[in-house]
Subunit: 424 residues, 2 copies
């Protein structure tokens, strides 16, 4: 068993990560891809060992009485090994954002002016007890030329330390600094607070977890934080919606993966179609075990249905993460937009309509990271939207909004090439 | 005399700004430009009144014993009125970033996916006692569809309140919400701290001022902060530099406007040319009254010169804002890059060289917002680099780096248009 270190020196970790980041920023795409393939090979070669260490974490969690579903969903690496290794090879295939030149122009005085994408430097990522995230984040950091300081959920400390050790050895085997990937080897939460003050070394904090973690980071970090990943998502069924399509989309958005952030939480239905449509929703989704929380008008329509309950005061501000769906009848598109403005977390919201004006008003006035017309909110995902990967979904507005992948882990510098140019 | 309000309710200000921002986000470019021209006309019509109110601020500052140069440089509006009004008309002529569509593609399932630029929402800007900044910031916010909460330097509270009143009336005259521009009507510094916690209403904080203000914002804000505007800027004279060009560039960078952030602070000279070049620098810039702070090797070369002093331990970490220049002899390009890494504030740094390899190494390894070859650091400026305006210069890496103008005051949303699309 690996013992957690007694005292962690975050400043020293930051210095080492920053030194590594300078080397990473200089690498060619070929060098980074070679390192990624070496990582995939090392994970393959150490498969048995990783599973054994992970089994120790799982055994401890079982002894502590952790819910077996939680263990299976989050802690267990064995059934994810193949996908995890395949994803590393996929990152090697993604285009490298670093070095890309944009906004180039010739200055009126003859200088060449352009912007060039560069790595951010050092990322700090705080995440839940999902050890495969360690590999996901480290490989995306590497491909984008960044070093990373990691802090994952306490139940899988051993699994994470083992993965980071293997990843570091793989880096060293191709001549790259193992300090590029560092893990806070302690379950003590005070190191999260300390990490958030390391603005001298860390350039961006990405928290992955619940509301409490995001609020803690926003309130305590002196480093820019990407908040997000919390999705109270809405669909609004307009009077002109194609009802069969609407049922299919709502079913997909609610039931495909209820425990993820882009799952549907609240369905708003125009009163013109509510009496016909709501019973169909309850019948169609009810078969999959969905429970409904209905506002008074929806409740009146659905009166007597077993799976329908009266919505409580907090229910329209709840991200369900479960087979539960809020239902509300609205008089108009304006009322739907107002409801979304008040209750949405600005993650993913959509309208189901055949009326172009209504669609455009919804797209203009709903201020969320992803806004949909006639499609499921489940598409808010880096892979599903063409980024090839995903490190986080931002619901804040600076730097990046919505799914973030490699380009969102970079910044740019201005480059100005003159020939003896002084400013007039 | 306008009395400062006793108690300011920042939550109420935030709510009103947010409500105004929803209206602003819907405006067409034509509506925003009409409002800008109405503002320019209103400033023109109220010129005498503005100057009279500003004179009261100036009189108080004089009575308080404020340095007349400081009053002239910062507080005095009269000599800036023409430029300020012309700038408002210029903002009307700039392209509108809002609504621009980018990264559009057809999803493999047939959905249309694209990103669309939208306003950030509400900006919070904290700035020094320069009343024309009130107008600059408000008009850039308006053109980018944002509301703004302003807090300027205490010496010009009356001038600022008067300007904001006139601007609000101009907005109202074209049917726009005067709440789009709000000013914290108090000199009490505690409202700065309170403003930094209004993440429910304010989307971005832009501090404009010294290091202390930037550090205060970084440490206390729960809103994303754009830090920047602090420039310890370097030029490195390589052995192959064209010496006449180098002299001209260094003279421009140091003496054109010594009190701005893109002015030169430290000159690094390769030892191969130091003995010839440094005396020429001292002669050429010395005529303009520049004082030099020389490291031991530079001092040895310049021994006996009146305007040359030995550099103290802090001198290479000082932004001079004055006719003072640090001088240091280095053995190599690597040593120059190392010095810049340690002492630069990552604002603007340049190399003067005819060697392409050296230029490329410098561009790759110096991690500053603007990196130069054979040009003056004075070009780091929104207008000089083609943005048409400037609200701040960011030296942090998220969201925007270097000069920021209209596009940098926007975010984007993802838009996904399907036709009954569920995620497979």
């Amino acid at each position: 068993m690996i013992e957690a270190a007694e005292i962690i020196n975050l400043t020293e970790m930051g210095e080492r990560a920053q030194a590594a980041s300078v080397e990473l920023a200089r690498l060619t795409t070929e060098q980074k891809n070679a390192a990624l393939l070496a990582i995939a090979d090392a994970l393959e070669a150490n498969r048995a060992r990783i599973i054994a260490v992970n089994a120790e974490d799982i055994a401890d969690a079982r002894d502590a009485g952790t819910d077996p579903l939680y263990i299976r969903d989050r802690l267990d690496l064995e059934r994810r090994m193949d996908g995890m290794i395949a994803d590393v090879r996929k990152v090697a295939d993604l285009p490298d954002p670093v070095g890309r030149i944009f906004d180039a122009f010739t200055h009126e005085l003859g200088m060449q002016v352009y912007k060039k994408r560069t790595p951010l430097g050092v990322l700090g990522v705080i995440y839940e007890a999902r050890p495969q995230v360690t590999v996901d984040v480290a490989t995306l950091a590497l491909k984008s030329g960044n070093a990373v300081i990691l802090r994952g959920g306490k139940e899988v400390l051993r699994s994470n330390m083992e993965l980071v050790r293997i990843l570091g050895e793989a880096l060293a085997s191709v001549g790259l600094p193992a300090d590029a990937f560092q893990y806070i080897n302690s379950t003590d939460r005070r190191y999260v607070g300390e990490m958030l003050k390391q603005h001298k070394y860390i350039d961006m904090i990405i928290p992955r977890g619940g509301n409490a973690l995001h609020n803690f980071c926003r309130e305590n970090s002196t480093i820019p934080v990407i908040t997000g990943g919390i999705g109270i998502c809405h669909l609004y069924v307009d009077a002109t919606a194609k009802m069969d399509d609407a049922l299919k989309i709502i079913h997909n958005a609610k039931t495909q993966r209820p425990a993820v952030c882009n799952a549907l939480d609240t369905l708003l239905v125009n009163r013109a179609v509510a009496a016909d449509f709501l019973p169909r929703v309850v019948e169609h989704l009810g078969k999959d075990g969905v429970i409904f929380k209905a506002d008074p008008r929806a409740l009146q329509i659905l009166d007597g249905s077993d799976q329908v309950e009266a919505a409580g005061p907090e229910d329209f501000d709840t991200e369900w993460y479960a087979l539960v769906l809020g239902l509300k009848v609205v008089d108009s598109l304006d009322e739907a937009i107002d409801h979304i403005r008040q209750h949405s977390t600005r993650h993913s919201d959509g309208i189901l309509t055949q009326n172009m004006d209504d669609a455009n008003q919804f797209l203009d006035e709903v201020d969320s990271a992803a806004v949909y017309v006639n499609a499921s909110t489940r598409f808010t995902d880096g892979s599903a939207l063409g980024l090839g990967a995903e490190i986080a979904i931002s619901t804040q507005k600076l730097h990046a909004r919505g799914p973030m992948a490699l380009e969102e882990l970079t910044t740019y510098k201005w480059i100005i090439i003159g020939d003896g140019h002084a400013r007039p």
